[in-house]
């Protein structure tokens, strides 16, 4: 008994490295457990370990289920499923390349627009704005995050798409029409519109987390910079460098949402499995095609191919996240080294 509790104690000390949201626990519960010492700590440790284990188990169970339901399609198409851009349920030819392309490009457009916007919001709210202004703006930005995505989609069809068709896309075509990105017929529906809708949807996430990150940078950093005669912009830069890993985390969180978003995108992206250099052209994402076609997929190979798309979406998200984390790790190592 004694040995066991010792062991657990050792473990819980290790566990300290992982931040745990203690505020989620009812205070009465934790107060009753903590002062009694070992036994309570042991139960607590087991309980919180169980929660993490459950998450891991759910992920494994999902991958296994997806893989087992996708076997028919994996056996029939093999690797060509990843390289073929043809998607023809009637003839039974299935390939995912066009969907992978649409998913990644629409998310990149979203980040391209949203990251500068969100960073601007976060910096303004933390560094510049007086509380009278920052509180209502914070509230409004967070309100954006609470709007259901189908509402974004309807707004996209009835407001955003016509606006882009009449006022934005003609200008892009006139000024940047020499780029293959902005060529072809203008309908207001397509990859660009999908990316912009996504940008609006991920901005509240990135800016809210970014604001918390910046607010968490110790006040002394700013004071030190200002004391050295730094301008407001220079002290903000110090804060940004310190907050870089957290901001990168915020961006990754936003990217995750963009990759998996379904309803809003499907309503404005045009739903056409093609790979075109022009952002005005319709495209299609992995999540959208699953949502669109799952209910009417009767043939085994059809259903299996849709499930394989789900598996691919899983992998794409995983790979993109891994690459993003790697980039963050390399970049932050560089800046911290330079700062030292």
């Amino acid at each position: 008994m004694k040995e066991r509790s010792k062991k657990v104690k050792g473990k819980s000390e290790e566990g300290k490295f992982f931040p745990f949201p203690f505020f989620l626990l009812p205070s009465a519960f934790s107060r009753r457990l903590s002062p009694t010492g070992n036994k309570g700590d042991a139960i607590f440790h087991l309980a919180i370990s169980a929660t993490s284990v459950i998450v891991v188990l759910i992920v494994i169970a999902m991958i296994m289920a997806l893989a087992s339901h996708a076997t028919v399609s994996i056996r029939q198409f093999g690797f060509s499923f990843l390289t073929s851009r043809e998607w023809d349920p009637i003839k039974g030819h299935f390939g995912s390349l066009a969907f992978i392309y649409g998913t990644i490009v629409s998310s990149l457009i979203a980040l391209f627009i949203s990251v500068p916007l969100s960073l601007g919001i976060a910096i303004f709210l933390v560094e510049q704005a007086p509380p009278v202004i920052s509180r209502p703006i914070t509230f409004l930005v967070e309100l954006l995050a609470a709007i259901p995505s189908v509402v974004y989609g309807l707004w996209g069809i009835f407001v955003l798409a016509p606006f882009l068709r009449l006022h934005v896309e003609p200008l892009l075509a006139r000024w940047f029409g020499w780029l293959p990105l902005f060529q072809g017929p203008i309908t207001g529906i397509g990859l660009l519109t999908g990316g912009i809708i996504l940008a609006i949807m991920v901005t509240p996430i990135i800016s809210a987390v970014g604001r918390d990150v910046l607010a968490a940078v110790p006040r002394t950093q700013r004071e030190a910079a200002l004391a050295l005669g730094a301008t407001k912009w220079e002290s903000t830069r110090v804060v940004l460098v310190n907050g870089a890993p957290g901001i990168a985390g915020a961006v990754i969180l936003g990217l995750g949402r963009a990759l998996g978003e379904t309803m809003a995108v499907t309503m404005v992206i045009g739903n056409r499995p093609q790979i075109s250099a022009s952002l005005f052209q319709p495209s299609y994402t992995l999540a959208s095609v699953i949502a669109n076609e799952f209910t009417e997929a009767t043939a085994d190979i059809y259903l299996s191919s849709l499930v394989e798309l789900g598996l691919i979406l899983f992998l794409v998200t995983f790979v993109v996240n891994a690459v993003a984390r790697l980039l963050v790790w390399r970049v932050t190592r560089g800046t911290l080294g330079a700062a030292a």
């Binding site: 009465a28 043809e86 998607w87 023809d88 349920p89 009637i90 003839k91 989609g153 309807l154 069809i157 009835f158 798409a161 016509p162 068709r165 017929p185 309908t187 207001g188 529906i189 397509g190 499907t266 309503m267 045009g270 739903n271 056409r272 319709p282 299609y284 959208s288 949502a291 669109n292 076609e293 799952f294 209910t295 009417e296 997929a297 009767t298």
Partner: protein, 359 residues
């Protein structure tokens, strides 16, 4: 400290109440003679079926029928797996799907629907008329401009502009797409060979809108577009609809009567099992892009009580239930088909005993 206790007591009370509610909810499963039927399938007839369920429930309070609109594909899957008492599908089941089922499945037609061509072209006052080959070539991407000579030929005097046609189609797998592509496959050999008919065809051109509302939204918002939606949806939303030239050579506006006429015009060619496509139907007033929607049920029911309830419900549906069709913009069955559907319902048995009888 006392306040904390009160809070805790309150939480315990809350937990007990919700537990009790849960227990009550799970107990109320089967009191006495209540019969429960579960159906699932096509989304297109869902508004009508929900109306049927509520009306039928008023007449027979002891029979609880639930219908979930999970899509025709789902309906077929579920009835094959026997997880539901009846399925529903817009297009008849294929031979191989019927063979894969553990028993003989009957098709009972309930109502008819139609697919209409809608468009957004400024400067056009009277409805645009289309010949079948023109519709096919627009959706094939071969007719690219609104002022194409072949569109002009059907619309003398219409002010057709020199603009690109943008095709809008359904992006979600849909019975509406299946009916429309079935029609195109019948009237165009090229369509049949290159695209074919199905719920999610590989469209040669155009942008995809999700659902009837998505197609309508994009057609309304984008000038120079053409798309297709369900008749019921077009009527409710006052969309411009195009008369289509039928087999007899007449341009027919999509109306409920013209859809019933298409079914009546196909009676002679309707097979015994009622699995039939009535697109491009004969008959002078038949609208050519029409279709049945079906309820699917096993001929040999396993449970006599439930089977009897199902048979009675279906019988009521194709007789009294048809009265609700027109209000909800569905076309009722023609009289000849009602007779043949009666025969199907009467052939349902449980343990070798016919369930319909005495009436």
């Amino acid at each position: 400290m006392p306040s904390l206790k009160i809070i805790r007591r309150g939480k315990i009370a809350l937990a007990l109440i919700s537990l009790a509610a849960f227990a009550i909810a799970s107990c109320s499963g089967n009191p006495g003679s209540e019969i429960r039927l579960q159906g699932a399938g096509a989304t297109f007839p869902n508004p009508l079926y929900q109306k049927w369920l509520s009306e039928y429930g008023k007449l027979h309070p002891n029979i609880k029928i639930d219908y979930q609109s999970i899509g025709s594909g789902g309906g077929i899957k579920q009835i094959q797996a026997r997880t539901i008492d009846f399925g529903a599908s817009d297009s008849p089941m294929k031979d191989e799907d019927l063979k894969a089922a553990p028993g003989e499945i009957l098709h009972v037609p309930t109502v008819l629907g139609a697919v209409v061509i809608t468009y957004n072209l400024s400067g056009v006052s009277q409805p645009l008329h289309f010949s079948p080959d023109v519709v096919a070539d627009i959706f094939m991407g071969k007719i690219k401009k609104w002022n194409d000579a072949r569109i002009k030929a059907d619309n003398a005097g219409a002010n057709l502009s020199d603009t690109d046609i943008t095709v809008v189609h359904r992006s979600d797998g849909s019975g509406t797409s299946a009916v429309f592509t079935d029609y195109l496959s019948k009237i165009s050999a090229e369509w049949k060979e290159k695209v074919g008919a199905g719920t999610s065809p590989n469209w040669p051109v155009g942008i995809g809108g999700k659902g009837n509302e998505g197609v309508t939204g994009q057609v309304k918002q984008t000038p120079n577009t053409i798309g297709y939606v369900e008749l019921a949806y077009a009527v409710q939303n006052n969309l411009p609809t195009a008369p289509i030239k039928n087999k007899a050579g007449n341009f027919i506006e999509p109306t409920i009567d013209a859809v019933t006429a298409a079914a009546a015009g196909s009676v002679a060619t309707t097979p015994e099992d009622l699995r039939v496509s009535i697109t491009d139907a004969g008959g002078a007033t038949a609208y050519p892009i029409s279709s049945y929607t079906y309820i699917l049920a096993y001929k040999a029911q396993t449970d006599e009580t439930k089977g009897k309830a199902l048979v009675d419900f279906l019988w009521w549906g194709i007789h009294d239930g048809e009265a609700f069709a027109k209000d909800l913009r569905y076309a009722p069955l023609p009289a000849d088909i009602v007779k043949r559907a009666e025969a199907k319902i009467s052939s349902i048995t449980a343990g070798g005993k016919p369930l319909r009888g005495g009436q």
